[in-house]
């Protein structure tokens, strides 16, 4: 039997986000907006030799029933600005930001990522997301201008255009020869012309080639189009499949798409989001995990969650009482705005029927049902159990590593860094020191210049 080479694990830290998995009511929970929280979180991730820090983005506050949703953490910083500041308090940690390709322009986003890459010495990464909704568009000049079926078409062209801008400087243009007085080798440095369906732009880009050439590209969409987009253009996927079977299926599916684009298996990393609850023993961790799930779903949150499915105002229902007898409203206009979750329930009538049966059979209240049918934490156990599970999953091709989202800000990663990481290092599957200065080094990705040389050579 030929044994597969042992894979090295990639780990990242997701700053806890604006959803109910983040527990703000815990006495340990700190500010979600003060810089000291971000700095603490980033320093912990770097102390643990993580590959990168990950930031999500939302460009309009979520609403339910026409009102701003008030039960979860609300409010976050500007992605680029906070990452640039974090570059000052870390030395090696990659800095991955989610930036929407719908409500931005390529020239501006390319300037910002190239600048961030310079200012961080080559540690920038871009999680490219798309949206189309007129709801978010109300905050922007262009409004909700994009039909849903064109969002990937625009995203692909957006990314291709920014790549043209990143590549418009080659890295040898700045001479800055004080003796001869030549600063620029070529007056045409940064020239570009892009003519396409979504963008028709030309001129000269004004940020010279950055250390990584281009930021590392992440993709997070799960649709057929999203998977193809990732296979053709991304360096890594921020996926949602962190369980054994679903993870392996997704991993195979996406990696098998790479050949079509002339890419090899190691040119696209699969990094699912994962949560965890640590305890001294497995039993203690299980007990703690139950408590956390209960903290995550207050009575009020449970009612709001039921409203996603029912698409009705259920505020008159008692969260500790039985499920509603009335059926969901299946009209198009949805009660919830500004979140992806509403698309998860494709057949609300069937879901409602199934939940009523489950609740009746188990004597569950509304809150019990939402807790029990909700996502269980990905990893629950002692440090030994979690280290072994993560290692087993990565070796079994569930993923190439995980993007860990603690439920407490900013200290939720501390215990993981102190207890699980050393065990992964002992197992020989996680770095004990950073081996290079850039995020591409951490992720084992070639510099774009080398990558294109290889393609020409082969």
């Amino acid at each position: 039997m030929t044994s597969k080479p042992i894979k090295q694990i990639h780990l990242a830290a997701h700053f806890p986000g604006v959803n109910n998995t983040t527990v703000w009511s815990d006495p340990e929970a700190g500010s979600h907006i003060e810089f000291s929280s971000f700095a603490h979180f980033a320093r912990t991730a770097e102390r643990a030799k993580f590959d990168f820090l990950f930031l999500a983005e939302g460009l309009r506050l979520r609403e339910q029933g026409g009102k701003i949703y008030d039960l979860d953490v609300v409010g976050r910083p500007d992605t680029f600005t906070i990452l640039a500041a974090l570059a000052a308090v870390t030395e090696h940690l990659g800095l991955t930001g989610t930036i929407n390709s719908t409500f931005n322009e390529p020239y501006e986003v390319a300037r910002q990522f190239a600048s961030l890459d310079h200012l961080s010495g080559g540690r920038s990464a871009w999680n490219v997301v798309t949206s189309w909704d007129a709801f978010t568009g109300e905050n922007f000049r262009r409004g909700g201008f994009l039909p849903q079926d064109e969002r990937y078409s625009r995203a692909k062209e957006f990314l291709a255009t920014t790549n043209e801008l990143f590549d418009s400087w080659h890295g040898d243009e700045i001479l800055a020869d004080q003796a001869t007085g030549t600063f620029l080798r070529d007056a045409k440095a940064g020239s570009f012309v892009h003519t396409g369906r979504h963008f028709d732009i030309h001129g000269q880009f004004n940020v010279p080639r950055s250390p990584q050439g281009r930021p590392v590209i992440f993709q997070a969409g799960d649709s057929e189009e999203g998977r193809e987009f990732a296979a053709s253009s991304a360096d890594a996927i921020f996926s949602r499949y962190a369980t054994l079977d679903a993870g392996r299926a997704f991993y195979q599916d996406v990696k098998n798409r790479l050949a079509k684009y002339g890419r090899s298996h190691d040119q696209l990393l699969i990094l699912p989001a994962a949560s965890f609850v640590l305890g001294d023993t497995d039993a203690e961790a299980e007990e703690l995990a139950k408590q956390v799930r209960r903290q995550q779903v207050s009575g009020a949150t449970a009612i709001k969650h039921l409203e996603f499915v029912w698409n009705r105002d259920l505020s008159s229902y008692d969260p500790d009482g039985p499920l509603p007898d009335i059926d969901p409203d299946v009209s198009d206009d949805h009660i919830s705005k500004g979140r992806a979750q509403v698309r998860m329930y494709r057949d609300p009538l069937a879901t409602a029927r199934e939940w009523r049966e489950l609740a009746a059979a188990n004597h569950w209240s509304i809150r019990d049902l939402v807790i029990e049918t909700g996502n269980r934490q990905t990893f629950v156990g002692s440090p030994q159990t979690i280290a072994k599970t993560i290692d087993d999953y990565v070796q079994a091709d569930v993923s190439d590593g995980f993007i860990l989202a603690p439920h407490i800000t900013p200290g939720g990663l501390d215990a993981f860094a102190d207890t699980v990481v050393p065990l992964l290092q002992e197992r020989g599957v996680f770095r004990t020191e950073y081996e290079g200065p850039t995020l591409r080094h951490h992720l084992g990705l070639a510099h774009p210049d080398e990558a294109s040389d290889e393609r020409v050579a082969s």
């Binding site: 600005t81 906070i82 940064g190």
Partner: protein, 404 residues
């Protein structure tokens, strides 16, 4: 509130590349190879903080630098290329403690929603030291980088024609709307909107978040911001202005306006015009600083400064011309000039070092001690925020309803 004595003047430094003289990068001290590194900018801002300056501004643009107003110049003998100013400021913020950070944002092709949260975030990462310098662009080549609008060719002479003035007015009106949106978004969260009320399970009191519902000819923006109200409430808004149209923007929306008088009489006339516009904008009682911009060559001997200027002009192949008055002399002479202009109504100055590596330390180690000896400048930072340094109170939130 600030405790700055009325006799004190305010000092800012405008950072741009290796300095404002086009040949500045050829000086030994210039470090042109490091312009695209964080370390270069960290050193400059640390030097300015050493001199207890109120703030630094950082220039920016959405295209390559050019010696022409309206188009690229194709030159290879001057610094070309730059990093995003907001991100430089954010990168420096955690490394400094007192000095204000005022990056330039071009408002003509960008989104007020993005800039509002970016400057709010800069205010968080600097714990209350953020500002913004708003700038318009009429350049057709920069419009072509976005492809959403086509701008006709423009030069300085055209700009003075009635048609040119109309274009300029439209761009500055858009800038005023832009700042209005930025400011409303900063106020779109009340200070105490985050309540973390365990009893009701509510993280925020949503009655303390506000739609801004801005509608104008160029854009409409709904709000609220995704970022809570920044530490200063309203970070500093600044703009450079050379004539009536931009003076009006300063009068309507700014906390600090930079103007370019050639002498004291000129300064008096400009300040009078700004004050008239300020009154017309209904802001008569508010503190609005008018700063004079000056390019400075600063040496211990006047002859040395003049020689340096001549040498750089000769390297550049032509005398350096600027919108601002160019000063070459000693710290004592500059202190005299600042006093004279200050008496004409300017409350501070934004100095543009001709060669950053030379003239910035000359400001912080030469001019500042000279002003201190005259009792005209602070000897220690007296406030924790940029607004505080400038004597600007933390403003009430426009959306907050007074409760008993």
């Amino acid at each position: 509130m600030s405790s700055t004595p009325a006799s004190h003047l305010h000092l800012a430094v405008a950072l741009d590349g290796t300095g404002w003289h086009p040949a500045s990068w050829r000086e030994q001290v210039a470090r042109p190879h490091e312009l695209f590194t964080a370390g270069y900018w960290a050193d400059q801002v640390a030097e300015a903080e050493r001199g207890l300056l109120d703030f630094v501004t950082l220039e920016d643009g959405l295209g390559l630098q050019s010696s022409h107003y309206g188009e690229l110049d194709g030159r290879t003998d001057q610094v070309r290329g730059r990093l995003d100013a907001v991100l430089i400021a954010a990168r420096i913020a955690p490394l400094t403690r007192h000095i204000g950070l005022v990056p330039t944002a071009v408002v003509t092709h960008t989104e007020p929603f993005h800039i509002s949260k970016a400057i709010a975030t800069l205010d968080y990462v600097s714990t209350g030291r953020a500002g913004l310098r708003v700038q318009i662009t009429a350049r057709p080549n920069e419009a072509d980088h976005f492809g959403r609008r086509t701008f006709p060719p423009i030069d300085l002479e055209q700009l003075r024609s009635p048609a040119g003035q109309e274009r300029l007015t439209d761009l500055f009106d858009e800038a005023a709307d832009y700042v209005e949106v930025v400011r409303r978004l900063w106020d779109s969260w009340e200070d105490d909107a985050e309540i973390r009320d365990a009893a009701t399970g509510r993280f925020i009191d949503r009655d303390k978040l506000h739609y801004i519902d801005f509608e104008g000819p160029h854009f409409s923006v709904k709000g609220p911001s995704i970022t809570p109200r920044p530490p200063q409430g309203q970070p500093l808004v600044t703009a450079l202005a050379h004539q009536t149209v931009p003076y009006r923007l300063v009068a309507r929306q700014a906390d600090v306006g930079y103007v370019t008088p050639q002498n004291a009489a000129d300064a008096r006339a400009i300040v009078a015009e700004v004050r008239t516009e300020q009154e017309r904008a209904g802001r008569a009682g508010e503190l609005l600083h008018v700063f004079g911009d000056l390019v400075v060559f600063l040496d211990d001997e006047q002859a040395a400064a003049e020689d340096r200027r001549a040498r750089l002009d000769s390297l550049a192949g032509q005398p350096y011309a600027s919108d601002a008055r160019i000063f070459a002399g000693t710290p004592a002479q500059l202190a005299d000039l600042l006093r004279e202009l200050g008496e004409a109504g300017l409350s501070g100055f934004r100095l543009r070092p001709a060669v950053t590596g030379h003239d910035l330390p000359a400001i912080s180690r030469g001019l500042v001690p000279e002003l201190q000896r005259r009792g005209a400048f602070r000897t220690a930072y007296e406030a924790d925020t940029l607004r505080g340094l400038l004597g600007l109170p933390r403003p009430a939130n426009r959306y907050a309803t007074a409760t008993a």
